[in-house]
C-alpha cells in the first residue's frame, strides 16, 4: 500500500480518533500525540489492513486502549491534566457566548463521568456510531452498552436540570 492510499483510508476517521483521544486525555497536545501514534501503528501494519473487516472500528479500539495506557502511566507519575478552552469559529459574538457556556458546562459534566461512560457517550452521541459498531469497539455486550449510555445521558441531563432550577451556571 502506498502512502497516498493509506492517507485516503484513514482520512474518514482520523478526526474521530482525535476527538476520542481528547475526550479521555483532555489536553489537545496529548490527544494529537495519541492520534499520531495510532495512525503510525496502523501504517506499520499496513499489510494487514485489508484483513480487518472494519479498520475504523479497529482504529477506535486502538485509540481507546492507547489512552487507557496513557492514563494509567499518568496516574502513576501524578501528572496534572491541562484544560484547554474551546473556540467557536464563525459564529456571531452573542451566539458564541451562549455556545461557550453550554459547551463548557456539558463538557465538564461529561468529564466527571466514569471512563467507559465517557467513551460510549462520545461514540454514540457525538460520533453517531451504530450499537453493533460500539459493541465491537469497546468489546461489550449490547445491553451493557445501552445501560452505560443511559446512565451517562441521565447523569448529564439531571445535572443540567438542577443547574437550571437553581439558576446556577
Amino acid at each position: 500500500m502506498k502512502e497516498s492510499d493509506f492517507l485516503k483510508v484513514i482520512k474518514p476517521f482520523k478526526d474521530k480518533v482525535f476527538r476520542l483521544a481528547k475526550r479521555l486525555l483532555v489536553s489537545r497536545e496529548e490527544a494529537e500525540d495519541a492520534t499520531q501514534e495510532v495512525i503510525f501503528k496502523l501504517w506499520k501494519n499496513k499489510e494487514k489492513i485489508s484483513d480487518y473487516k472494519n479498520i475504523e472500528a479497529f482504529a477506535m479500539t486502538m485509540t481507546k486502549n492507547y489512552c487507557y495506557d496513557r492514563l494509567k502511566s499518568k496516574q502513576a507519575s501524578n501528572l496534572t491534566l491541562v484544560h484547554t478552552n474551546y473556540k467557536g469559529k464563525e459564529t456571531p459574538l452573542e451566539k458564541r457566548i451562549e455556545y461557550k457556556d453550554a459547551v463548557n458546562i456539558v463538557h465538564s459534566l461529561i468529564e466527571q463521568l466514569p471512563e467507559m461512560q465517557k467513551i460510549i457517550l462520545q461514540l454514540r452521541d457525538v460520533e453517531q456510531y451504530e450499537f453493533e459498531e460500539i459493541c465491537d469497539m469497546v468489546s461489550m455486550k449490547p445491553i451493557a452498552v445501552r445501560v452505560a449510555l443511559s446512565r451517562a445521558r441521565k447523569t448529564v441531563r439531571n445535572a443540567l436540570t438542577k443547574q437550571q432550577n437553581y439558576g446556577v451556571s
Binding site: D15, F40, Y99
Partner: protein, 135 residues
C-alpha cells in the same frame, strides 16, 4: 415534529433505546428555534454534541520522520546501555581490587600475629629458664 412525539423520543433517549434516526430527529429539534420550556435542559446537551463534532485533527500525519526518530532512540538506548556496562565493569574491577588487597592485608596481619604469639612464648620460656637458674 409534534411535541408528544418528541417527549416519547426523549424517554427512549434517556433509556438508551433510540435509533440513530430518532436521535437525529431529537438533535434537529433541540438545536432548532423553538424548544418546549420543560425540555430546555436538552438544548445544551445536543448543542454540545454538534459543536464538539466540528473539532478536527489539523496536524500533518507523519509516517516517515517518526520512523527515523524511533531508530535514533534505538541507537541512543544501545549507546546508553554500553556506557552503563563499561562503567559498571570499571567499578566492579575497582571494588574487586580493593577486596583482594583487604584479603591480603588480613592474611599478612594474621601471619604476623601468629609470629608474635610464638615469639612471646619463646620469650616467656627463656624468662622462666633464667629465673629457675637464679633460684
Amino acid at each position: 415534529m409534534e411535541l408528544a412525539n418528541i417527549e416519547k423520543l426523549v424517554i427512549k433517549y434517556k433509556n438508551g433505546t433510540t435509533s440513530i434516526e430518532e436521535e437525529s430527529i431529537l438533535r434537529n429539534y433541540f438545536t432548532g428555534e423553538s424548544v418546549a420550556a420543560h425540555l430546555q435542559e436538552y438544548v445544551p446537551m445536543f448543542t454540545y454534541f454538534t459543536f464538539i463534532k466540528k473539532e478536527s485533527f489539523n496536524k500533518k500525519v507523519q509516517l516517515k520522520i517518526e520512523k527515523a526518530r524511533n531508530k535514533n532512540r534505538k541507537f541512543l538506548s544501545v549507546a546508553a546501555s554500553l556506557v552503563l556496562l563499561l562503567t559498571s565493569v570499571f567499578f566492579i574491577k575497582k571494588e574487586n581490587d580493593r577486596y583482594q588487597a583487604k584479603k591480603q592485608f588480613a592474611q599478612v596481619t594474621k601471619g604476623l600475629k601468629l609470629l608474635s604469639i610464638q615469639l612471646k612464648k619463646g620469650e616467656i620460656a627463656i624468662a622462666n629458664l633464667y629465673s629457675n637458674k637464679n633460684n
